[in-house]
Amino acid sequence: MTLAQLILLASAAADGAVKIAALLERCIRENRDPTPAEVAEVKARQASAEIRWADLAPKEVNP
Protein backbone atom coordinates (compact mmCIF):
# COMPACT_ATOMS: atom_id res chain seq x y z
CA MET A 1 0.00 0.00 0.00
CA THR A 2 1.42 3.33 -1.02
CA LEU A 3 1.38 6.52 0.98
CA ALA A 4 -1.14 7.96 -1.47
CA GLN A 5 -3.49 5.05 -0.83
CA LEU A 6 -3.15 5.52 2.90
CA ILE A 7 -3.95 9.20 2.56
CA LEU A 8 -6.97 8.39 0.41
CA LEU A 9 -8.23 5.89 2.97
CA ALA A 10 -7.75 8.34 5.83
CA SER A 11 -9.44 11.08 3.83
CA ALA A 12 -12.44 8.87 3.07
CA ALA A 13 -12.70 7.86 6.71
CA ALA A 14 -12.50 11.44 7.87
CA ASP A 15 -15.11 12.45 5.33
CA GLY A 16 -17.48 9.81 6.64
CA ALA A 17 -16.94 10.85 10.24
CA VAL A 18 -17.51 14.49 9.39
CA LYS A 19 -20.73 13.68 7.59
CA ILE A 20 -21.99 11.70 10.55
CA ALA A 21 -21.11 14.47 12.97
CA ALA A 22 -22.68 17.13 10.75
CA LEU A 23 -25.85 15.14 10.31
CA LEU A 24 -26.24 14.54 14.03
CA GLU A 25 -25.37 18.08 14.96
CA ARG A 26 -27.87 19.51 12.50
CA CYS A 27 -30.73 17.26 13.57
CA ILE A 28 -30.08 17.84 17.27
CA ARG A 29 -29.67 21.59 16.93
CA GLU A 30 -32.85 21.92 14.94
CA ASN A 31 -34.60 19.34 17.11
CA ARG A 32 -35.98 17.43 14.18
CA ASP A 33 -35.86 14.12 12.42
CA PRO A 34 -33.69 13.67 9.34
CA THR A 35 -35.39 14.79 6.16
CA PRO A 36 -36.43 12.20 3.58
CA ALA A 37 -33.64 13.51 1.34
CA GLU A 38 -31.03 12.90 4.04
CA VAL A 39 -32.39 9.43 4.68
CA ALA A 40 -32.41 8.69 0.97
CA GLU A 41 -28.81 9.86 0.62
CA VAL A 42 -27.63 7.60 3.42
CA LYS A 43 -29.55 4.66 2.04
CA ALA A 44 -28.15 5.24 -1.44
CA ARG A 45 -24.61 5.13 -0.08
CA GLN A 46 -25.46 2.00 1.85
CA ALA A 47 -26.88 0.31 -1.26
CA SER A 48 -23.81 1.27 -3.28
CA ALA A 49 -21.47 -0.16 -0.65
CA GLU A 50 -23.50 -3.37 -0.42
CA ILE A 51 -23.33 -3.86 -4.20
CA ARG A 52 -19.55 -3.40 -4.19
CA TRP A 53 -19.23 -5.80 -1.25
CA ALA A 54 -21.36 -8.42 -3.00
CA ASP A 55 -19.19 -8.13 -6.10
CA LEU A 56 -16.20 -9.13 -3.99
CA ALA A 57 -17.79 -12.34 -2.74
CA PRO A 58 -15.63 -15.46 -3.03
CA LYS A 59 -16.07 -17.35 -6.24
CA GLU A 60 -17.62 -20.76 -5.74
CA VAL A 61 -15.37 -23.49 -7.10
CA ASN A 62 -17.01 -26.67 -8.36
CA PRO A 63 -14.79 -29.73 -7.93
Binding site: M1, L9, A17, I20, R32, D33, L56, A57
Partner: protein
Amino acid sequence: MAEFTTPGSDYVTTLLAGIGSAAAGLTGLIIAVNSLLRRVGSNNADAQPTTVARVPSKAPAAVFAPTIVALIASLAVFGGVSCNATPTTKILALREAYTATLNTAVYARQQGLIDDAQYHTIEQRRIIAAGMLDGLEASLNTRLPPTPGQIVAAADAVAAFGEAINP
Protein backbone atom coordinates in the same frame (compact mmCIF):
# COMPACT_ATOMS: atom_id res chain seq x y z
CA MET B 1 -25.36 29.96 12.85
CA ALA B 2 -27.85 29.42 15.64
CA GLU B 3 -28.34 32.10 18.22
CA PHE B 4 -28.88 31.21 21.83
CA THR B 5 -30.82 34.06 23.33
CA THR B 6 -31.49 32.13 26.49
CA PRO B 7 -29.47 29.45 28.17
CA GLY B 8 -32.29 27.01 27.60
CA SER B 9 -32.56 23.52 26.33
CA ASP B 10 -31.12 24.33 22.89
CA TYR B 11 -27.89 25.52 24.42
CA VAL B 12 -27.67 22.53 26.71
CA THR B 13 -28.44 20.11 23.88
CA THR B 14 -25.79 21.61 21.65
CA LEU B 15 -23.32 21.67 24.50
CA LEU B 16 -23.97 18.02 25.24
CA ALA B 17 -23.64 17.16 21.57
CA GLY B 18 -20.29 18.94 21.47
CA ILE B 19 -19.09 17.12 24.55
CA GLY B 20 -20.34 13.87 23.08
CA SER B 21 -18.51 14.48 19.82
CA ALA B 22 -15.30 15.29 21.67
CA ALA B 23 -15.66 12.22 23.86
CA ALA B 24 -16.40 10.09 20.83
CA GLY B 25 -13.29 11.37 19.10
CA LEU B 26 -11.23 10.67 22.19
CA THR B 27 -12.75 7.22 22.53
CA GLY B 28 -12.00 6.47 18.89
CA LEU B 29 -8.46 7.72 19.32
CA ILE B 30 -7.92 5.50 22.36
CA ILE B 31 -9.30 2.48 20.53
CA ALA B 32 -7.18 3.29 17.51
CA VAL B 33 -4.02 3.62 19.57
CA ASN B 34 -4.78 0.40 21.44
CA SER B 35 -5.37 -1.41 18.16
CA LEU B 36 -2.14 -0.05 16.76
CA LEU B 37 -0.15 -0.98 19.84
CA ARG B 38 -1.64 -4.47 19.88
CA ARG B 39 -0.65 -5.01 16.27
CA VAL B 40 2.83 -3.60 16.79
CA GLY B 41 3.23 -5.72 19.89
CA SER B 42 2.27 -8.89 18.07
CA ASN B 43 4.66 -8.04 15.25
CA ASN B 44 7.48 -7.57 17.74
CA ALA B 45 6.66 -10.86 19.46
CA ASP B 46 7.03 -12.68 16.17
CA ALA B 47 10.37 -11.09 15.36
CA GLN B 48 13.50 -13.17 15.80
CA PRO B 49 16.18 -11.49 17.91
CA THR B 50 18.98 -12.52 15.56
CA THR B 51 17.33 -11.13 12.47
CA VAL B 52 16.62 -7.65 11.34
CA ALA B 53 13.01 -6.79 11.97
CA ARG B 54 11.22 -6.43 8.70
CA VAL B 55 7.76 -5.06 8.18
CA PRO B 56 5.67 -7.24 5.86
CA SER B 57 4.33 -5.49 2.80
CA LYS B 58 0.75 -5.75 4.08
CA ALA B 59 1.54 -4.41 7.54
CA PRO B 60 0.52 -0.76 7.04
CA ALA B 61 -2.89 -1.66 5.70
CA ALA B 62 -3.35 -4.46 8.20
CA VAL B 63 -2.78 -1.98 10.98
CA PHE B 64 -4.46 0.96 9.40
CA ALA B 65 -7.75 -0.48 8.18
CA PRO B 66 -8.89 -1.93 11.53
CA THR B 67 -7.81 1.29 13.20
CA ILE B 68 -10.03 3.29 10.89
CA VAL B 69 -12.88 0.86 11.45
CA ALA B 70 -12.58 1.26 15.20
CA LEU B 71 -12.43 5.03 14.87
CA ILE B 72 -15.46 5.32 12.62
CA ALA B 73 -17.54 2.75 14.44
CA SER B 74 -16.86 4.16 17.88
CA LEU B 75 -17.51 7.71 16.75
CA ALA B 76 -20.76 6.89 15.00
CA VAL B 77 -22.07 4.43 17.55
CA PHE B 78 -21.24 6.67 20.48
CA GLY B 79 -22.61 9.76 18.79
CA GLY B 80 -25.67 7.99 17.51
CA VAL B 81 -26.70 6.32 20.73
CA SER B 82 -25.47 8.51 23.54
CA CYS B 83 -26.46 11.97 22.38
CA ASN B 84 -29.83 13.54 22.85
CA ALA B 85 -31.24 12.76 19.42
CA THR B 86 -34.52 11.45 18.12
CA PRO B 87 -34.78 7.70 17.46
CA THR B 88 -34.84 8.37 13.71
CA THR B 89 -31.60 10.32 13.96
CA LYS B 90 -29.96 7.63 16.05
CA ILE B 91 -30.94 4.93 13.59
CA LEU B 92 -29.67 6.98 10.66
CA ALA B 93 -26.39 7.58 12.47
CA LEU B 94 -26.04 3.84 13.00
CA ARG B 95 -26.77 3.30 9.33
CA GLU B 96 -23.93 5.71 8.52
CA ALA B 97 -21.63 3.73 10.77
CA TYR B 98 -22.69 0.53 9.08
CA THR B 99 -21.98 2.01 5.63
CA ALA B 100 -18.62 3.42 6.67
CA THR B 101 -17.64 0.04 8.08
CA LEU B 102 -18.79 -1.72 4.94
CA ASN B 103 -16.79 0.68 2.76
CA THR B 104 -13.71 -0.12 4.80
CA ALA B 105 -14.40 -3.84 4.39
CA VAL B 106 -14.67 -3.35 0.63
CA TYR B 107 -11.39 -1.50 0.58
CA ALA B 108 -9.65 -4.13 2.72
CA ARG B 109 -11.01 -6.92 0.53
CA GLN B 110 -9.76 -5.16 -2.60
CA GLN B 111 -6.35 -4.87 -0.98
CA GLY B 112 -6.29 -8.60 -0.32
CA LEU B 113 -6.48 -8.19 3.45
CA ILE B 114 -9.68 -10.22 3.80
CA ASP B 115 -9.58 -13.83 2.70
CA ASP B 116 -12.58 -15.93 1.72
CA ALA B 117 -13.11 -17.37 5.19
CA GLN B 118 -13.07 -13.97 6.81
CA TYR B 119 -15.38 -12.66 4.11
CA HIS B 120 -18.02 -15.15 5.17
CA THR B 121 -17.59 -14.21 8.83
CA ILE B 122 -17.94 -10.52 8.03
CA GLU B 123 -20.93 -11.25 5.81
CA GLN B 124 -22.73 -12.99 8.66
CA ARG B 125 -22.18 -10.03 10.98
CA ARG B 126 -23.18 -7.61 8.21
CA ILE B 127 -26.48 -9.41 7.61
CA ILE B 128 -27.29 -9.31 11.32
CA ALA B 129 -26.48 -5.60 11.60
CA ALA B 130 -28.40 -4.69 8.45
CA GLY B 131 -31.38 -6.72 9.58
CA MET B 132 -31.48 -5.03 12.96
CA LEU B 133 -31.27 -1.58 11.39
CA ASP B 134 -34.07 -2.40 8.98
CA GLY B 135 -36.16 -3.79 11.83
CA LEU B 136 -35.65 -0.64 13.89
CA GLU B 137 -36.62 1.58 11.01
CA ALA B 138 -39.69 -0.47 10.24
CA SER B 139 -40.85 -0.13 13.82
CA LEU B 140 -40.57 3.67 13.82
CA ASN B 141 -44.01 4.17 12.36
CA THR B 142 -45.74 1.52 14.40
CA ARG B 143 -47.52 1.73 17.72
CA LEU B 144 -44.47 0.19 19.33
CA PRO B 145 -41.51 2.45 18.49
CA PRO B 146 -38.02 1.10 19.14
CA THR B 147 -36.89 1.15 22.74
CA PRO B 148 -33.49 2.53 23.78
CA GLY B 149 -32.43 -1.04 24.51
CA GLN B 150 -33.23 -2.11 20.98
CA ILE B 151 -31.21 0.78 19.58
CA VAL B 152 -28.27 -0.14 21.78
CA ALA B 153 -28.56 -3.75 20.59
CA ALA B 154 -28.40 -2.56 16.99
CA ALA B 155 -25.37 -0.44 17.85
CA ASP B 156 -23.72 -3.52 19.31
CA ALA B 157 -24.46 -5.42 16.09
CA VAL B 158 -22.85 -2.66 14.04
CA ALA B 159 -19.83 -2.65 16.34
CA ALA B 160 -19.57 -6.45 16.05
CA PHE B 161 -19.66 -6.05 12.30
CA GLY B 162 -16.71 -3.67 12.51
CA GLU B 163 -14.83 -5.96 14.85
CA ALA B 164 -15.13 -8.81 12.34
CA ILE B 165 -12.86 -6.88 10.00
CA ASN B 166 -10.21 -6.81 12.73
CA PRO B 167 -9.72 -10.52 13.51
